[in-house]
């Protein structure tokens, strides 16, 4: 019996080390829910091969339809007011403001093609803070001492005005 106890304990400890409690519960729950779908597995597997591999908690719930929402896929590291809600667009500054020549950089996963893209987060400057659609996403966001990845800096450096209005998200290209 002691031998069986040891095996059980080692298995449990290894499981606990490898996955968190919440992760375990979610996987266990998912397995229960998935049981009735087993007959559909080949179809599901075919779709799964096209699906992106999840890169972060954000990318798991990201969407590519509505740039007025914080979970729009390109906003994975944005911090500020969305220009899409302020009279501008995903990469467009609202009238009355101007894009800053400097920016911080993010790497976001497109939910449909699963590819990772480099994104330049460019603040629009010169008008008062927009005040609409505040988002705070932090994928791969780094402190000020690594400024290229920091989204707390007022990135109006080099603009004609340091007044922050809103933030845009400009595609730079594939990260891979």
């Amino acid at each position: 019996m002691a031998y069986l106890d040891n095996i059980s304990e080692r298995f449990a400890r290894r499981l606990a080390r490898q996955i968190s409690r919440r992760s375990f519960l979610s996987r266990f729950g998912a397995a229960l829910v998935a049981a009735p779908l087993f007959p559909l597995l080949p179809v599901v597997r075919a779709r799964a091969e096209d699906a992106p591999s999840p890169g972060s908690e954000f990318s798991e719930r990201a969407q590519s339809k509505d740039p007025g929402q914080c979970n729009y896929w390109r906003y994975c590291a944005i911090d500020g007011f969305l220009c899409s809600c302020c009279g501008g667009g995903v990469h467009t500054c609202p009238a009355g403001s101007t894009p800053s020549p400097t920016s911080w950089i993010g790497t976001c996963t497109h939910p449909e093609d699963g590819k990772q893209y480099l994104v330049s987060y460019r603040d629009c400057c010169g008008a008062a803070p927009c005040g609409r659609c505040y988002c705070r996403n932090t994928d791969r966001e780094t402190p000020v001492y690594r400024p290229q990845g920091n989204n707390d800096i007022i990135w109006c450096l080099g603009a004609t005005s340091m007044e922050y209005h809103c933030s845009t998200s400009v595609l730079v290209g594939l990260a891979e």
Binding site: S56, P143, T160
Partner: protein, 419 residues
């Protein structure tokens, strides 16, 4: 006999009142009663309360004045700094009352003199609001919150306020203001003469972690710490060995420094605590995990691993005398480092063990703790706190009991003397 004039008068009057003496008497009584009634009514209307009581004293005239700030006790806390124009509020932790306020520009930062004698604000103004001539300043306020000096700065970083962008040396002599335009540098102000002393270039690094006297440390994008030493009028920069991964598991900017002991707690996103000795000879003293100290598996950089992690902005506090470290913790994945804390974990840094979990009234991004023998823990609620937003909860730091809540207080961080 010559008639008496009065008799003539009276006779004439009597005669004028119609010749009837009785009618005249009645008329006089009616007039007298009317005057009596009119006077009584007027008196009542003027002061109904005075009937039967002595005449009240007239209120003294007043002049405008300014409250005198009481001497700072150990439980004074300052809360402020915002991305928008605002102020730094002085609050008495024992009563929860607001005692005064310092005006600050948008994106300003503040610091407390080690003796609580002065308060410093690093701030920026433009001559025409959002444009015009830029003016970067270190504004110096005395212990009555009166502006006593302004030191012009060559520039400063404007960001969501972070406490290590302005630091004062442990002896109160030097103030350091971090700048990024976009080259990284630190403006050094000699507070003894209230003048800019020099500008120290710190390429590839950022933030200021002040020492007791001349010199400071910074953190760098290559995972090292910069040691910046004063040599005459100049500062020299050297780097430590690489001790953290700035890209995958950076240490928080709001890591803690006991300036008088030059002892730092650099804490990484995954919860690794790098205890470091600052000064001319930087060295890592200890390295331990917050999660392991709580008998959990250490957190990893896996983006899908949910576990307890440190997070928020001004996310930690240190009580020097007891060696206790307070950290805002939440359950999340890697890169959830700005998620508001839902609990405060208390660690014994000598034994590297978690000794308590404190519940907090609402999610929080910023905490600090007083440094006396009966410490108070100050907890600022986060912008995600719903109705509890903009509140300062004051807790007994030893038991976690919520003693009082101050409403209408917002800011990026709270600060006490020493931290």
């Amino acid at each position: 006999m010559r008639p008496h004039p009065a008799s003539a008068c009276c006779r004439y009057v009597t005669s004028w009142q119609g010749g009837s003496h009785r009618t005249a008497q009645i008329g006089r009584k009616v007039v007298a009663l009317w005057w009596l009634w009119a006077g009584w009514t007027a008196a009542l209307a003027a002061n109904p309360a005075s009937q039967g009581s002595p005449e009240p004293a007239i209120l003294e005239t007043e002049t405008s004045d300014v409250a005198v700030l009481p001497p700072p006790g150990p439980h004074r806390v300052l809360v402020g700094s915002s991305i928008e124009t605002g102020g730094v509020r002085v609050i008495d932790g024992d009563s929860g009352t607001r005692q005064g306020e310092i005006f600050t520009s948008a994106g300003a930062n503040f610091a407390i003199d080690p003796n609580n004698s002065y308060y410093y604000v690093a701030e920026t103004y433009w001559s025409r609001g959002n444009r015009g001539k830029r003016d970067d300043l270190l504004s110096i306020y005395d212990d009555q919150l009166k502006l006593v000096a302004e030191v012009t700065l060559p520039g400063r970083l404007i960001s969501l306020p972070k406490s290590p962008t302005l630091a004062v040396s442990g002896d109160g002599r030097w103030a350091y203001v971090y700048n990024l335009q976009p080259a990284a540098s630190v403006a050094v102000v000699d507070l003894s003469v209230r003048k800019l002393a020099t500008v120290a270039e710190i390429p590839g690094c950022g933030m200021v972690y002040a020492w007791k006297s001349a010199g400071f440390s910074s953190l760098c994008a290559d995972g090292t710490a910069a040691t910046v030493i004063r040599r005459g009028d100049k500062y020299t920069v050297s780097h430590s060995e690489r001790f953290f991964d700035a890209e995958l598991d950076p240490v928080f900017e709001e890591s803690l420094v006991d300036r008088s002991a030059e002892h730092a707690f650099f804490i990484s996103y995954t919860g690794i605590v790098y205890e470091a000795q600052l000064g001319e000879h930087f060295r890592i003293l200890k390295e331990w995990s917050l999660q392991q100290a709580a008998r959990l598996a250490p957190a990893t950089t896996s983006a899908l691993e949910y576990t307890w992690r440190p997070g928020g902005y001004h996310f930690a506090a240190y009580h020097k005398a007891s060696g206790r470290l307070f950290v805002l913790m939440h359950v999340g994945t890697h890169w959830s480092h700005k998620q508001s804390g839902t609990e405060i974990w208390v660690f014994d840094t000598q034994r590297q063990q978690r000794i308590k979990r404190l519940a907090i009234p609402a999610p929080s991004d910023a905490i600090t703790v007083s440094q006396d023998a009966e410490p108070l823990l100050y907890v600022l609620t986060s912008r995600d706190a719903g109705e509890a937003e903009n509140q300062l909860a004051i807790l007994n730091a030893q038991t976690g009991e919520v003693l009082r809540t101050v409403r209408g207080v917002s800011g990026s961080f709270a600060a006490v003397k020493g931290f």
